[in-house]
């Protein structure tokens, strides 16, 4: 019995033990060579997925490099630069900017540059991602109706410019021959909800900004580095209106931004957005967090990431702001979704404001009036009702010369068509209560004074009852007015009345 049972027991122990050991080995192996582990061996072959701005090809999921074939056609097309303005663009792929190329670090890229037979000049491509003479320029020099092939190893991850490098290079670039290539790092960037492609560039036209019709390239403006247009994605409005970038509240966005120039450095900024992360110059490291504006040199790039928390329209600009306002460097990001009042309240109130200068004057006025014997209040408290009318008028004049004179003028005549006169004013003399109310609460809208219409705003005045009584008494006793006296009690009555 024992002899028979012992081997069985051994097997019962041994089989699970072997199983457990195999399982452990499997787990360890999986962790070493598992799906997150990147293999450096080039496997397979595929065509690159190319997209036009603002779209970006989807993330490359494979965990090994491949041979990637890129076909790009150079074409010369007449197209819209702005409303009513056309330009003979030289392009990669028929649009400006050229198609976005996405490959993965370690990929072997076989590049085919096809120059359309309809082109009038040779073209080529210099990819800044290439390590080698000219970035492929001479290797890809191609006359119309021909196709060139060259290959390179995408060893440097990051975001890179590509552009035509055929003589005269500045003309080829100025006419629209540029785009971006993204060499996705072995370890991809964190996932986001949206990736977009934005390219800033300049156009130099013989006509002024907005001058209609087909515009020629202006060598003079180009040499002066004084562009007629600075645009995102090839034309004025390419990122506005129905072309605006889209996102929903709470989503994260990654922008692949290039600036070809050909001359200007971009001060890339989105109004109302703080970039959570910036990969400056399109490199692979987060160089800074919480950034407002990113500098992007001509022939350079940047990657920015941010989250949108509040709905609305966010304006994308080159914060060298005249380019945005007068040369076209404006785009839009439209965010839809629910408000978040904690993050941004929107407008909560709108009040009249008299200006900091006026505040200072009021402070001075209060201190001066408060420390002088001719202040009606002090006079009353110290000397009963013995204050003469002259003292009150004198105190009122001080208030007038600090608070009222700027608009109504020291002589009370006001400013024609702007500020109504107090001098011999039928409006003033007709109604004392109304005058008190206006000083207390301000006045806006149309009034008629001595037959002339005025339409302006008088702010409510932060004056005490005594001060208002004094200043109105002064005004009624001056400038040929009716000589009425206004008392503190009358002011208090109006203040408390309505």
């Amino acid at each position: 019995m024992k002899l028979k049972l012992e081997p069985k027991l051994k097997y019962i122990i041994l089989i699970p033990a072997v199983f457990v050991i195999l399982l452990i080995i499997t787990i360890i192996t999986f962790q070493i060579n598992g799906c997150n582990e990147y293999s450096n061996k080039v496997k397979g072959e595929e065509y690159a997925n190319l997209t036009y701005a603002p779209e970006v090809p989807p993330e490359i999921m494979r965990n090994h490099p491949s041979k990637v074939i890129v076909n790009l056609e150079t074409m010369q097309v007449t197209g819209r630069l702005a409303d009513g303005v056309e330009y003979n663009f030289w392009t990669f792929g028929g649009k400006v900017p050229g198609e976005f190329i996405r490959v993965k670090e370690g990929d072997e890229v076989e590049f085919h540059l096809d120059n359309s037979p309809l082109c009038t000049v040779p073209h080529s491509i210099d990819l800044h991602a290439v390590s080698g003479p000219g970035g492929g320029a001479s290797a890809s020099q191609t006359v119309p109706g021909h196709s060139s092939t060259f290959s390179f190893k995408a060893n440097h991850p990051g975001l890179f410019i590509y552009h035509c490098a055929t003589q005269p290079v500045p003309l080829h670039i100025a006419n629209g021959m540029y785009g971006l290539i993204y060499v996705q790092p072995k370890k991809p960037l964190p996932p986001v909800d949206h990736e977009y492609y934005i390219m800033q560039s300049e156009f130099y036209t013989t006509g002024d900004y907005g001058a209609p019709g087909l515009q020629d390239f202006s060598l003079d403006k180009a040499l002066a580095e004084n562009p007629t247009y600075v645009v995102f994605n090839g034309s004025v409005g390419a990122l506005s209106g129905s072309n605006a970038l889209q996102a929903r509240v709470g989503e994260t966005i990654r922008l692949f931004v290039g600036n070809i120039g050909p001359c200007l450095t971009s001060s890339f900024h989105i109004i109302g957005v703080v970039f959570d992360k910036v990969y400056l110059f399109g490199g692979t490291n987060v160089t800074q967090e919480n950034v407002q504006t990113v500098t992007i040199p001509a022939g350079g790039a940047a990657i920015v990431e941010f989250k949108v928390n509040v709905p609305g329209t966010y304006t994308i600009v080159d914060h060298s702001i005249f380019r945005a306002f007068n040369k076209g460097a404006v785009g839009m990001l439209t965010v839809t979704g629910n408000e978040n009042k904690e993050i941004f309240s929107g407008k909560q109130d709108d009040n009249l404001y008299y200006g900091s200068e006026m505040d200072k004057k009021l402070e001075n006025n209060n201190s001066v009036v408060g420390n002088t014997d001719i202040n009606p209040q002090n006079a009353k408290s110290s000397e009963g009702n013995s204050n003469s009318i002259d003292d009150i008028v004198a105190a009122g004049k001080k208030v007038f010369m600090t608070t009222c004179f700027a608009c109504h003028q020291p002589d009370g005549k006001g400013v024609p068509n702007v500020f109504p006169p107090l001098a011999q004013s039928n409006f003033l003399n007709a109604d004392k209560q109304r005058a008190i109310g206006i000083v207390l609460r301000g006045k806006n809208g149309v009034i008629t004074v001595n037959g002339k219409q005025f339409n302006n705003v008088m702010p409510a005045q932060s004056l005490s009852d005594d001060q208002i009584a004094a200043v109105l008494t002064y005004v009624y006793h001056s400038f040929g007015n009716s000589g009425k006296t206004v008392t503190k009690d009358e002011v208090a009555k109006v203040r408390n009345g309505k």
Partner: protein
């Protein structure tokens, strides 16, 4: 070595405003014009070149060689007919717009410049008529003297083969950085366009906008 170099580097193309040709009477296309000798400043020069180069007087065809003239050439020289030509001397686009070997068809006008011809073909034609292709220097010099070039921003171009079309090596890689710096007139963008076009060619290329004209020298030279 020298022969190889010539073989590899011979040729040219110049870019000319097509519209400027329109003003020339094409009926007199085989008439030649005297270009007086003088100094020419090349757009590009190597360290050994002087900035100015003396050009001896020569005659140049007033207009590019026409389809009609070229048709006579292929009639007399069967090896240059479209169906007969060797691919190393002219690529598949050679005379592609002609209806057949000896028929221009309706699309091609007999009095217009012949295009879709290779450097070898143009060179053979010139030899056949007892002339030769102009050098880059001669072409540029004549263009300047005779005002052949339309220097406006007109992007409609017409190019012409030259004898030493790709001898001025302006590689795209060198162009990118310092081409302007090594040029005698970095503002002469039309000249850059012509030089880069020439430099992109191979001698068997045949292209729609590419024709040629001949020169002949004065005296025995």
């Amino acid at each position: 070595m020298n022969a190889k170099k010539i073989n590899i580097t011979i040729l040219l193309v110049l870019l000319i405003g097509y519209s400027s040709f329109g003003k020339i009477n094409l009926k007199a296309s085989n008439k030649m014009i005297l270009v007086k000798g003088g100094y020419y400043c090349p757009l590009f020069k190597s360290d050994n070149d002087s900035s100015k180069q003396f050009i001896h007087a020569f005659y140049i065809d007033q207009n590019p060689v026409t389809n009609e003239e070229y048709l006579k050439f292929v009639k007399a020289n069967p090896e240059w007919r479209r169906s007969m030509v060797k691919i190393i001397f002219a690529d598949a686009n050679y005379l592609r717009k002609w209806k057949s070997d000896l028929d221009l068809g309706n699309e091609v006008k007999s009095n217009k410049p012949v295009t879709d011809i290779s450097w070898y073909a143009a060179n053979a034609y010139c030899t056949w008529v007892g002339k030769r292709l102009p050098t880059v220097a001669e072409w540029e010099y004549a263009a300047e003297k005779l005002r052949m070039i339309n220097n406006s921003n007109d992007l409609v171009h017409f190019y012409e083969w030259t004898f030493d079309f790709n001898e001025t090596i302006i590689e795209a890689s060198s162009i990118c950085g310092g081409a302007g710096a090594s040029a005698t007139n970095p503002k002469d963008y039309p000249a850059f366009l012509r030089f880069s076009f020439r430099n992109s060619l191979k001698a068997n290329y045949s292209m729609d906008d590419l024709g040629f004209r001949c020169v002949s020298l004065i005296g025995n030279e």
